[in-house]
């Protein structure tokens, strides 16, 4: 029963996207209310299923549960296996909630968004599949099929060459991963579970090639210099909050890949390079922090903030211990909600500001609900001790400091800088003296969006008290 529930959670968004594609726009006005309603109900139902699955799960255990195996496709002895552990399921819940926020943030942008919504549900289906994949083949397949829907979303938002860059960068990464996957299947022709990769005997040279390719394949998803180009260029052109949220969720697949593969059994030659890589991460974090500080655009600041935190999680994952897994999961869950909520309000402000072009400064003075929501979310984002983000990040940073004090100090410094530029941004948005009289006509966030922000805050607060408070 529970196994079927997991399959439903994976494939429900796929059916949702089909319904969205078939839904009609209201009265030919181009407003995609029906599509949004279908998507919201799909997500709510999916979230309910996830909570039911959580309730049946042994949350004390870190083992994979609800394992289902199918004979598949390929005319070989391959089969695909699905299953989840607490980390995966909490991530699935997180991306469902983040997408729900994304779709609700389209409320003021509903025109001609039908296919954006449909593709985002496909993206969710692929992502859920990735989190549930237990064997190498299905992991690779879901790792790849999340790209086309996102490519379409980005392309519909940006009519230039940037979607092409996104496509090529990401496929370059998947080809490297494919090389590693084929090498592993050549060594072990039967089904390979990710958990058992360490059992595969590879000779020295092959081992180095395989692990380098796996490493690089995941790196293309995470914006560490010099692999950052696609995400930074994509973020400059996105006009749609849903696409922004989806695009910025993509690096989690790289983090998840590292988490599933990395601690297993990497050859000494590769593992010895981990500190060098950690230095690259720390340097990129520092760069992003200064970038966020120097740029005035709200989206640029948000982008810098998001990737500083992704790199912090990566440092946590690369630490030579597995005990951080739960902390990373709880923190990532909270982080997903925070950045989605911030994106929702930030895009609303940007859209309202476009009615009378000029600086955003002081805009929150005349939008009380947006001001309240944004202030609360920023306070959580900077590490105010009211959410799971604070507590778990504290543990992750401690471990990074313990592993390498220089990198740890750099990480702390960048977190402080990130907090500073977010506060600076909040201050400028609330600066009463900068407010322009022409902005009196601007609309505040609507009640549904405001309610969602409050719900996010409640979830974050409850998660602070007990991370899995929703398990009954």
């Amino acid at each position: 029963m529970a196994e079927n529930l997991l399959l439903m959670i994976i494939f429900l968004p796929l059916f949702g996207s089909l319904f969205v594609a078939l839904s009609r726009d209201n009265n030919g006005t181009g407003i995609s209310v029906n599509a949004a309603a279908v998507a919201v109900w799909t997500l709510l139902f999916n979230i309910a299923l996830i909570l039911v699955l959580f309730s049946q799960m042994n949350t004390e255990s870190d083992n994979i549960q609800y394992v289902t195996t199918f004979k598949w496709l390929l005319p070989q002895t391959l089969s695909i296996s699905f299953g989840v552990d607490v980390f995966a399921l909490i991530m699935i819940l997180g991306i469902n909630l983040a997408l729900l926020i994304g779709i609700l943030s389209l409320r003021s942008h509903f025109k001609n968004q039908k296919f954006q919504i449909g593709f985002s549900l496909l993206f969710l289906c692929a992502y859920t599949g990735l989190f549930s994949a237990l064997d190498l083949m299905s992991f690779y397949v879901f790792f790849v099929i999340m790209i086309p829907p996102l490519f379409m979303q980005i392309g519909m938002d940006a009519d230039n060459r940037i979607p092409g860059r996104f496509l090529l960068y990401n496929f370059l990464g998947t080809f490297l991963l494919l090389f590693a996957v084929v090498m592993l299947y050549c060594s072990e022709p039967n089904n390979i579970l990710i958990a058992n990769i360490s059992d595969i005997k590879l000779d020295g040279q092959s081992g180095i090639w395989v692990w380098s390719c796996i490493f690089m394949g995941f790196m293309f998803r995470i914006p560490v210099w010099p692999f950052h180009y696609w995400i930074s260029s994509v973020n400059t052109v996105i006009r749609n909050p849903l696409t922004f949220i989806c695009a910025n969720m993509l690096p989690i697949s790289g983090l998840f890949g590292f988490l599933r593969f990395w601690p297993a059994a990497i050859p000494e030659q590769i593992s010895s390079l981990t500190p060098v890589f950690a230095i690259f991460c720390a340097a990129t974090m520092l760069y992003l922090a200064f970038r966020g500080y120097s740029l005035n655009n709200a989206r640029d600041k948000l982008f810098s903030y998001i990737f500083i935190y992704y790199l912090l999680y990566l440092l946590g994952i690369l630490a030579p211990t597995d005990i951080l897994q739960r902390n990373i999961a709880y923190s990532l869950f909270a982080f997903l909600l925070v950045f989605s909520g911030l994106s929702m309000v930030a895009f609303h402000l940007e859209k309202e500001n476009n009615k009378s072009p000029g600086s955003l400064n002081g805009i929150l003075c005349i939008l009380p609900k947006a001001s309240f929501a944004y202030s609360l979310l920023i306070s959580v984002a900077i590490g105010f001790p009211v959410s799971a983000l604070f507590w778990n990040n504290f543990i992750i940073v401690s471990q990074v400091l313990y592993t390498n004090v220089y990198i740890g100090v750099t990480a702390v410094l960048t977190l402080l800088l990130a907090a500073a530029f977010l506060l600076q941004h909040l201050y400028s948005l609330k600066d009463n003296e900068c407010m322009l009289p022409t902005k009196d006509t601007l609309r505040d966030v609507d009640n549904v969006q405001f309610g969602m922000c409050l719900a996010v805050m409640s979830i974050l607060f409850l998660s602070f008290i007990k991370p899995l408070w929703f398990v009954y």
Binding site: P75, D159, L167, L168, F175
Partner: protein, 469 residues
Amino acid sequence: MEILAGYVNVFFLLAGVLVLSVRRIWSDESAKGYIAVAKLFIVADLLSLIFFYDKNIWPEYMSNDAFSLAVYILTALMMYVWLSLSLKWFTASGLPSCWFCVLALLLLFCFKILVATVNLGIMAAILTAILLLQYMLLRFSQENEEFHNISGKYLINTALCIVLLGVSLYLFAPKNWSLANAFAFIQTLPMPQIFITIGGLLVVLLFMMGIAPLHFGITDIVGPAVLPVAAYFTFVPVMALWTTFIKLNVKVFASLSTRLESFYVCLGIICIIIGAIGANSSRNLRRIFAFMALFNLGILLMVIAPFNYQSVVYVVCGLLFYVLTCLGVYTVFYGFKSQGEYLSTLNTLYGFFKVRPFMALTLFFFLLSVTNVAPLWGFLNLWELLHRIVADKNYLLMIVVFGTALLLLSALFQVSRTIFFTKKSTNFDRGEFSVYLFLALNLLLQMWLMLNAGALSETVNNLLSEMVS
């Protein structure tokens, strides 16, 4: 009675040609009428095949096995769908379709003989006939400015092919024209002479299959040709020609498999390189797709190169998806219509997605498959090829494959950008119901086959057992 059944089995389609000619003489019918008659004869021929499949009048020249029958049925079905789609073009253009239908039935007749024949003489004669009939089919495009250029080239190539076939047959000598004798004869020849002997046959076949560097026989044609003709060259003869290719390699060239393997791999590499570069350098959607298809043919050729049982099964499954995908893509091309004209250049297709989202998304799905994105069929072929490459430790080839696959994705981006991401600049005609129906059926069939790929390969395995053994 048995002999009569055998004759019916072989020549039924020619009766169709006769009926069409008589109707042309006695009544001037609409395009729909002729195509309906042609389709009727195809269905009747398939039924006669089901009833009389074991009635063979010339066992020394023609011998059907389960696989060749399956290939013929598939080719006939493709011909049927192709005729159904072609009707739209004839209705829009107002041209008579009688001669077109006659050519279709004659070509199908040729394919029937081609997949069944076990004699090199008949094979060469049929290949010549197909080349000539295809040239006549090409003449339907004579209103196009480029027609004289391409038809002239095609005619010269056809003449060269006939010469090559003649030389090959002469070197084999008539007593060795049966496949079994030809196999034995090859083994008696010294090495350079073997390749001169088989070269003619092989080159002609590769030319007709559109394998690089002889790909111009297809890629140069599909752009200027009218839509039904371009569609024909892309997917109708594929299965029959590949079956002949497999038959020759398994039954005649088997002793040369090691030497030919490297040759085919080289051709495959040329195919994927030219395919990837060509797809990026063209602005005509049919040509872009032809180059994408060439890339996939290259992959298939490299997979089949060792001609062991497993590789043949893999490629036959791959070909089935290939043909369905080509059919799907050309069905979408029938939806690219504005003011009664079929569009093919990218700059006329801006914003197509905004008005025909289902068609555009289906095209995207097919193109993803052609660009080898997992888990679609193109990926399965790539997967098999990569397995081979890793086993051989041929990492340079792997870099070439990945590099060209990335280039192909760049072409996919160009097409997607035009169709999906730009503003509409053309008033597209209303999509026809039958186009949507064919697309939906094609998608469902492909998905069903993908989900049952294991069962499919097992079926192909059983079908091939007689031929490959």
